[in-house]
Subunit: 492 residues, 2 copies
């Protein structure tokens, strides 16, 4: 496969698919809709996990692990949730294979080993977790229960795309239990802001916080808080959701607690999750026609050093010069790769690290040794400059910060340019159809209008923004009264 | 449930089951054979993971992620491996549920949504991974490939026990590819020593390194390296295995590479894994009739501080006194819990932390404030002493080291006492039947003898020790010639 990418302007979707594969992030597997996350892609996920896990723990959560399987009878207990996921469930029906009597050396499912009750491979874990919480919660003293799980889940999607929508994906799912409605609401909102903080300050991906319309809510939730990001092709990406589940699961699994006053009450719940889908968002927020662009805080390799040399002797000189610099940079917690492979020419290495989005590239040749200089290039702007060897630590540290904030600024200004307030439906259609991006428009609050708009424009309500103004207006589609503008977009 | 544990001498197995539940480590779930790992148990697993992951990366490995499911046709490609796991495979046959027309509000498997090819939930990932490696390996330049995966796997075991044997468990599985037989063998041995290092220096669990007899080998391996530990009831626990897979999977999945000389050759393979079973081993190596005993290096809470007070005013005084100490201890990287709950009396707290195996307990009361003293108690020996407040950091650091090494020494001396060399089969039966533990005995090397011994005594060959003497001898059972003693035991 050629290293050259399709241009974004030619075919954004093709560009994305090629980039994911060529930058060694992930690839399709032999299992329909399931991906293999390759080491470089997984290293990004590890960085994300480490930071999110820290943020969850700082907000009082602990990790635990619940079974992969959900017995069908538990799965169906919360009816809305079950209905929402029933159509995409992988189901285990048997627990044994045997030699196929008709085919030498082949196996078949042993018909004698049929399960009495089928097991659903978890598409989400509310059911199995709330069935467990029933045993853990008796009194107000057992609350709140603040638990997170890192896990794989399976949703049998018909149309899949690497990272964005796969049959199996990795995620974290928080599941908390509270004594009061207010506390649960506060928790759901808190986790929305933790996600927004992570998206903006680590992924350098600006997001709009809001709540979902009823039809876009998580199945089984009373309210879904979301963070919505805008991709370079003008489509929105739902990047993380946090659900206020009311007492729905407590009801379904009969989880009550004794209050301080000795009364029996149902427990209040939240759940919240982000997944490997974030990697898709990261790619589509920053990358360009040369390849991946990674924010320094999530880059597995922050700095790559490429020696430009002819023969062993020159390489040795360069290595001697560069070693103490590498040490000083490592001591600052910077992750560095020194690429002295002799099987690839410097130009090919430059292209490889551009493709892989390494934030800073340092090149050092024979003349640099004489002059005590280095060439330093930043991936985001592709600018190069020659610096003195003494300045390297300071320069690298400064540049990493600059790249991180530049990426956020760039993404913010793009997002702001593609957030259009419209007055009527003609303008709505025009913007969604041509310019793309987010559209802020008055909506009458009915599912009917929401569906009509979707039918005509393919745009959905991404969220009702948290900080939206309350104002009198009329719905762009129906002309009926509306109290505030909501955010529409075509979405992934 | 009473907090009091069954004594080990009364019923070791009951003691274990009670301890796991009462110390809040894990519990059975609604899914047959699957466990819920509770936050305290999971925190131990996180500590294990962090250390192992560090050791894997230091030895050049990277993490990646492969699909949960293995299509049946891939699963059966390596016949020995498939045969070994076929009897315990959970199989996904359908991808959708639908409303049950006969039962209002219930779901059933949609008969229209039958998969063309069944999917096995991975019991281990050689098949799916080697099918993927086929695309990654063309030339010697692509080798070695050193990859690890942290994942859940499912083996449909009929008799399950929390941590030790569950239908779903968490583990890591390394899968490496090499250009030569020698390099692959070296890798398999290296990972055996990494596991042994982790077991001894972090878990404080001494292990014997060796290789498995042919009948005890991993299905599909040419050699299995193992580490074997001895539990307090005289039974052995296989704590980690590392397999030299020869070219078996390369053959099955047709994975060849071009050598430096331009020839086509099959790739050599290893795989290696440890699982949440290690937590079972940790428990059964150190714990006592009062509860869990944790080595400091893996304890989620290393020091608990319990204030002894009457009324708010006394608590405030103690808190003021203790706060700077907590800060100094935290700065040393020590994990601390200050338990000032007013819902539990100090005695109950003491019992709780004994049950949970917290290595050091500090108690501080009103009189201690006056005298500038603290009471410090160690969990391993249950010894208490009163120390001066100034000495706390030094004392805690020293004690943590002492506890860690004392636990290893104790476990080693137990293991050495229960490692018996026997000369004939009478003695063999006597030791296995009464004393228990490891038995070193000559064996003629045949599977027939191995099976007979197992039939009569329930002891299996745990390993052929790495450092075993080569000497002329006669098999304890058959009287045939033998070249070295091997290690027998009853095992988990």
């Amino acid at each position: 496969m050629s290293k050259k990418l399709t241009k974004r302007s030619e075919d954004y979707s093709k560009w994305y698919n090629e980039l994911v594969v060529k930058a060694d992030l992930a690839e399709s597997s032999a299992v329909r809709g399931c991906m293999v996350i390759k080491p470089y892609g997984f290293a990004i996920w590890e960085k994300m996990q480490a930071q999110l896990d820290k943020m969850f723990k700082e907000t009082g959560h602990e990790n635990a692990y619940f079974p992969l399987f959900v017995p069908k009878s538990l799965f169906e207990a919360e009816e809305k949730n079950a209905e929402g996921f029933a159509k995409e469930c992988a189901v285990v029906t048997h627990y044994r294979l045997q030699n196929d009597p008709d085919k030498e050396g082949k196996l078949r499912v042993d018909p004698e080993a049929k399960l009495e009750e089928e097991l659903v491979v978890r598409p989400t874990s509310e059911a199995i977790i709330w069935n467990t919480y029933k045993g853990w919660i008796q009194s107000y003293r057992d609350l709140p229960l603040l638990i997170n799980q890192w896990a794989n889940v399976v949703r049998w999607e018909m149309r899949t795309r690497l990272f964005l929508r796969t049959a199996e994906f990795l995620w974290q799912e928080g599941h908390t239990a509270h004594a009061t409605r207010e506390e649960a609401l506060k928790e759901a909102e808190l986790m929305q802001s933790v996600y927004a903080d992570f998206a903006e300050n680590y992924m350098a991906m600006p997001v709009i916080k809001g709540t979902k319309s009823e039809s876009e809510r998580f199945a089984g939730a009373d309210e879904t808080y979301t963070i919505e990001a805008l991709m370079q092709d003008g489509k929105a990406l739902q990047a993380g959701t946090s659900h206020f589940l009311g007492q729905n699961f407590a009801n379904a699994f009969d989880v009550k607690f004794t209050t301080r006053e000795g009364k029996q009450e149902y427990v209040w719940a939240t759940s919240w999750g982000v997944s490997t889908r974030l990697i898709g968002g990261l790619i589509m927020t920053h990358s360009d026609d040369f390849g991946l662009v990674l924010p320094p805080k999530l880059a597995p390799i922050q700095v790559v050093i490429v020696p430009i040399y002819k023969g062993e002797e020159q390489l040795e000189k360069i290595t001697d010069k560069i070693k103490p610099m590498i040490e000083s940079l490592k001591q600052e917690g910077i992750s560095i790769k020194f690429d002295d492979r002799d099987t690839l020419r410097p130009g090919a290495k430059f292209a490889e690290y551009e493709l892989k989005g390494v934030p800073i590239r340092i090149a050092i040749g024979n003349r640099d040794i004489e002059n005590n200089t280095l060439e330093i290039a930043r991936r985001d702007t592709l600018e190069k400059e020659t610096i003195s060897g003494e300045d390297v630590v300071f320069k690298v540290k400064t540049l990493l910060e600059q790249i991180q904030s530049n990426l956020l600024d760039k993404a913010k200004s793009y997002r702001d340019n593609y957030l259009t307030e419209v007055k009527d439906f003609e303008e709505f259609k025009e913007v969604i159809g041509n310019k793309g991006g987010f559209v802020l428009a008055h909506w009458d609050g009915t599912e009917e209008t929401e569906n009509k708009i979707k039918e005509i424009t393919k745009a959905t309500i991404r969220c009702i923004p948290n900080n939206g103004k309350i104002e009198e207006g009329i719905c762009v589609y129906s002309g009926k009264p509306s109290k505030r503008k909501v955010l529409f977009a075509k979405a992934y």
